[in-house]
Amino acid sequence: MAAGTRDVRTQDGQPNGPPGLGLIKGLLVTLKHLMRRSVTQQYPEEQPDLPPRTRGVIALKEANCTVCYKCSRECPDWCIYIDAHKETHEPASGGRARSVKVLDRFAIDYALCMYCGICVEVCPFDALFWSPEFEYSEYDILKLTHEKEKLEEWTYKVLPPPPLEVGAEPPEEPAPVAVPTAPAASPAPVATAAAPEAAPAEAPAATPARERPPEVELDQETHDRVLAEELAKGTDRRVAEGKARRAAMIEARKKAGGG
């Protein structure tokens, strides 16, 4: 209203129309939200619907841990405590003795942790995972230091990652299957091969054999049809466009696959 003679344009580059139209549009937006159901989840009565990658608690898959100390060194809060000792094993087949680090203690002090997730990021052998579990507050601050047994229990609460969106690039895998040499002979593939079965989080990505979908153009006809349908239903424009693009992609793939 105080804009004066300035030429105010909307995001589409269209002129604003009659003055005051924006004010009315604003009122309609709030009115629309008043009519809708509210999105509040009333937590203690109702469990929140958390996405699988929520940073709730960090779980430790002990079998995957090689005691490399990367997590504890990268931790900005120094809240990860690791104790380990070395053991030497004489291989049954003879040869020099091999030394192995054995984990004695792995603890995360959640009173210090700031949930940055760097430890999960740096872990080279997929031993650390995020779980959406968050109800572990305590009256005694010392109890917030979770030892490795408790951290192991959290792995049961780790959710598989959400499926990729339609049309998304498949994740770039180091692809051990692409190497035709005998996999069991060299130690490196053993480690990577162990990872998928140990980590439930890796489940969908563990099928690297999945073919990359063919590059296709969107099916314009389907796109326009679905968009019109959704808009007629009164769906939000952004959502409708997403649905239309999804339908068009599926249709285009079908055509490309069939023909």
């Binding site: 209203m1 105080a2 004010l23 604003g26 009122l27 939200h33 008043l34 509210s38 999105v39 509040t40």
Partner: protein, 339 residues
């Protein structure tokens, strides 16, 4: 003609039922106080819920078990329990008096709001003049609060409130004056009865807009809440207030919403007059409904619009509202004389 109707109907029901001077006075004062203490509660609860749902939230859900209906009662209990802090540098007497000065004018307004032909506390012949005069006193309480708090934010807020009142009082009075000219009476009951055939919102649509915008500014409600702009000056003049004194300021704000919605209903929406054909619904329900609708509108605006900057706010009043109101008065006078 209108004068005759007022003389017949304009007697408060309390005067009919009782005849001792003191009995009548005490009962009227008691009833006004009850309405003043309960109506803002309803509007306050409505604000909690409407604002929440407009933001896709639920708002209070626990107090009183059913959808948080008792939230404001719980708030009141909480305010009573709070420590009454007075800053050491504050001007103690002025600081302590300010909430009352801000609140009492709105109680006084409730005395003249008509809910029916006989359903009111007092029928003043100068009703609308009294209403506009009393509602302006409230800002003195805000100024007192801001000055006595010995706090920069409070002072800035108080001075903004004063500047805003000066800017928006004028269009408010001019818009009301146009209605008074059309009705030919200053009495609120007279104005309500003059709208028996047509609500003044139709001929006075411009005046209605000016009156509502100016009322918002008068109440320092968003989008005209520069005096309490919480993101820049904390809570303006009320920054240093705690407990019951703070509650009085809140009560003044919500009481003000009810009072000014009521005045706007009387001036423009026919007061307790029903929509033709629906006259079996009693007048006080019409009046309460209209007050509720306008209060809802005020809350709706709060949820929708961002705050105006101080210069925009002043410019809007002096360069848009006041000229518009003057033109409105001229046109009203022209039509009144010509037809």
């Amino acid at each position: 003609m209108i004068g005759a109707v007022v003389a017949k109907a304009g007697v408060s029901f309390v005067n009919d039922l009782f005849n001792g001077f003191w009995a009548v006075l005490l009962i009227k004062a008691g009833l006004v106080l009850i309405v003043f203490l309960s109506a803002p509660m309803v509007v306050g609860y409505m604000e909690h819920k409407v604002l929440a749902h407009m933001q896709s939230r639920l708002g209070p859900m626990y107090a009183g078990r059913f959808h948080g209906w008792a939230q404001l009662i719980a708030d009141g209990v909480k305010f009573v329990q709070k420590e009454d802090v007075i800053p050491s540098a504050a001007d103690r007497w002025v600081f302590a008096l300010a909430p009352a000065v801000a609140m009492i004018p709105y109680i006084l307004l409730f005395a003249v709001i008509p809910f029916g032909d006989n359903l009111f506390a007092e029928n003043l012949d100068v009703g609308i003049f009294y209403v506009l005069a009393a509602s302006s006193i409230s800002v003195i309480g805000v100024l007192m609060a801001g000055w006595a708090s010995a706090n920069k934010f409070s002072l800035i807020g108080a001075l903004r409130a004063a500047a805003q009142l000066i800017a928006y009082e004028l269009p408010l009075i001019l818009a009301a004056a146009a209605v008074v000219m059309q009705a030919g009476t200053l009495s609120l009951i007279g104005i309500a009865q003059a709208q028996h055939h047509m609500w003044y919102v139709f001929p006075q649509i411009v005046g209605f807009g000016i009156f509502m915008v100016s009322s918002l500014a008068e109440l320092t409600r968003p989008p005209f809440d520069m005096p309490i702009a919480d993101s820049e000056i904390i809570f303006g003049a009320y920054t240093e207030y705690t407990g019951l004194r703070f509650a009085f300021f809140l009560l003044a704000e919500y009481g003000g919403i009810v009072a000014l919605s009521a005045i706007a209903s009387v001036l423009f929406l026919g007061g307790y007059q029903p929509i033709p054909g629906l006259s079996f619904i009693p007048g006080f329900i019409w009046m309460s409904g209209k007050i509720g609708a306008l209060s809802f509108f005020i809350i709706w605006l709060r949820a929708t619009y961002p705050r105006l900057r101080e210069d925009q706010l002043q410019r809007f009043s002096w360069t848009v509202l006041i000229p518009l109101a003057l033109v409105d008065i001229m046109l009203t006078a022209y039509f009144k004389v010509a037809f």
